[in-house]
Symmetry: C2
Subunit: 403 residues, 2 copies
Amino acid sequence: MMRTHSCGNYQFCNSPAFHSYEYNSPGMNVSINNPEITTPAFLVERGIVQRNSDAMREKARQSGVTFRPHVKTHKTLEVARMQFGGETGPVTVSTLAEAEFFAAHGFDDITYAVPISPDKLERTAALAPTIKRLNVLIDSFEALHALEEFHRQGRSVFHVFLKIDCGYHRAGVDPDLPESLQLATALANSSAVHFEGLLTHAGHSYHARNPQEIAAIAREETSALTRFQYRLTERGINRLVRSIGSTPTACVVKRFDDTDEVRPGNYVFFDAYQAAIGSCELSQCAVSVLATVIAGYPQRGNLLVDAGALALSKDAGPDHVDAECGFGVVCDLELRQLPMKLKVLSQEHGKVEADAETIARFPVGTRLRILPNHSCLTAAMYDAYRVVENGKVIAEWKPVRGW
Amino acid sequence: MMRTHSCGNYQFCNSPAFHSYEYNSPGMNVSINNPEITTPAFLVERGIVQRNSDAMREKARQSGVTFRPHVKTHKTLEVARMQFGGETGPVTVSTLAEAEFFAAHGFDDITYAVPISPDKLERTAALAPTIKRLNVLIDSFEALHALEEFHRQGRSVFHVFLKIDCGYHRAGVDPDLPESLQLATALANSSAVHFEGLLTHAGHSYHARNPQEIAAIAREETSALTRFQYRLTERGINRLVRSIGSTPTACVVKRFDDTDEVRPGNYVFFDAYQAAIGSCELSQCAVSVLATVIAGYPQRGNLLVDAGALALSKDAGPDHVDAECGFGVVCDLELRQLPMKLKVLSQEHGKVEADAETIARFPVGTRLRILPNHSCLTAAMYDAYRVVENGKVIAEWKPVRGW
């Protein structure tokens, strides 16, 4: 039986043995082809996650930088510990629910890497003293004023990173604008915050089409921080940590230069998108959706699987590289790519295009595996992951959910 | 405290008072503008759901057809009961998890409206005898053979509907092909099944651009079944129920003619997509995502909200009607549409385009409401819905999740 634990604003089910891979429940140690494994299911190849985790950690170690991986892709204690070779370590999170969950389980150095808004200060302040370090992100005078007002009421002094825009143009201040220097100076001079560093995310690396284009963005990512840091040093503002992080840029660089900290996240699972732009090979994709063929229409050139939008998410995928990419890469149970295109998703149906001969090879009841376009979004559709080794389910991992 | 109940392959949290709207937990009876309501949150306007529910049920009643609404949009007991004016009644489901959940709570007449595959027969057979009627869907000889093999082993005789393709070309047999008549004849003659009826879903009504186009598809929907039923009658196969259902077609017809049963689902919530194609007005949309402005960049012409792909889903929306539709309709707290476009979603960020003047009116910390493109997919991102009346949260409803 599982225990359910409710704490703060999140809920999670806590396996009695999350730190081992034993799990005494139905569906364990059975083949992924066994009907006992209900489809759709989210499969995680433990061995591939291990290799992906080890390679990135080793690159960070050899580069002499702080390794603060993002945990938003998997949201599980098990993978977070694999990211540190079985230990805990500094992590990056995308929600306060993740922060609370990981803090409650020994991860005591956390960066909440979404710009903080005033309504979240109470909850953040409640969490901060329970761990060694909680960093928050800001990129506006408005947010700084909220932190100062909070401090004036006798409340927490937060550790903050200033978000810098390195070309993605989502969050962050432009490192080349004078206002950005003014904000950094205000942060350095404020008694309401501890100004810890500069943080950027090269999300535009996802718009690249190949490793060469990613490498150019990796240079923008580091140079934006280094350039800005230099200007601050000229003004006497020193000792700021430079923190970068995106899986594409982290994968294409040989080593991490010109930075102090790296925060990749998706690399533990990878996905069809990362393979299409050249961050990884398809063989490095660790997660897939197990689906069953529920109908075949050779005369219409398509078959249906029981994995739809709720099983896969509707991420459009790397359509800037392959306009025909569809909603994932359809494979057999051994993860060999099949001549099929997953073209349409409705809530519980996936419509796959294939020729009549291929359709005949995969009759109703056949199981397939679909490498998702975007593993972060697909993983989030599931309350539990089925962990696989050698075609058998060996464990079940439960992610933290919600906000 | 909540009780957690585990049954079969699904899990749900059972509020001690699901049948009333009292709920004694944090966040009740507070304004949606109160930081106690964490954002992103999924808000359900109870009054609008009530009106949407009543209108469709009344149309079905006046038409003299069986009303078997789909529950996959909301997946909650509370809305299912509202669909029947406070009672239970025959429902349509999209997963076995939904079937088990609703069956366990008094819904004893259920159609599982996705083609059944052999691996799901054991679980379906276990559920069927616990309720008055469980109908399953098939559209192939392969599936029929699986049911016959199951029956030969001394197991259940299933009640089946034959899925007919009325032009959507997702699931279903072509009503004009001789093989389809052969399959229907085989169903009628098989001792392994009770052949109950013909079922179709005009999913292509979602490709329409206005009510006139939807109305034309509504005629295809009914005529596909009626035409096929006529041919079966000529062969002595009688008493088959004709079951239709899609929210667009159900909304544009004045009454349900030439059918025996209707199965709309999305109409309880509606969404920006339905409004764009003319199934409803924007004011009939009952659900929204509550979000907080976390950054503003007037010089870049955008602001960020804390509702990203996990809060909204990445449904591309009615881009065949409005190429600039974005990922939802941005409104203020009173659901008045704002001059903003939600153009990009990443996992926890929503990037909104707006002019500098508008951005200035919505500083960091402001709360907004976003009408989702596709309420079914957005609702499924949440473990709990915040139920709202007059701007206050009055209840929390918990959907069944998973498969």
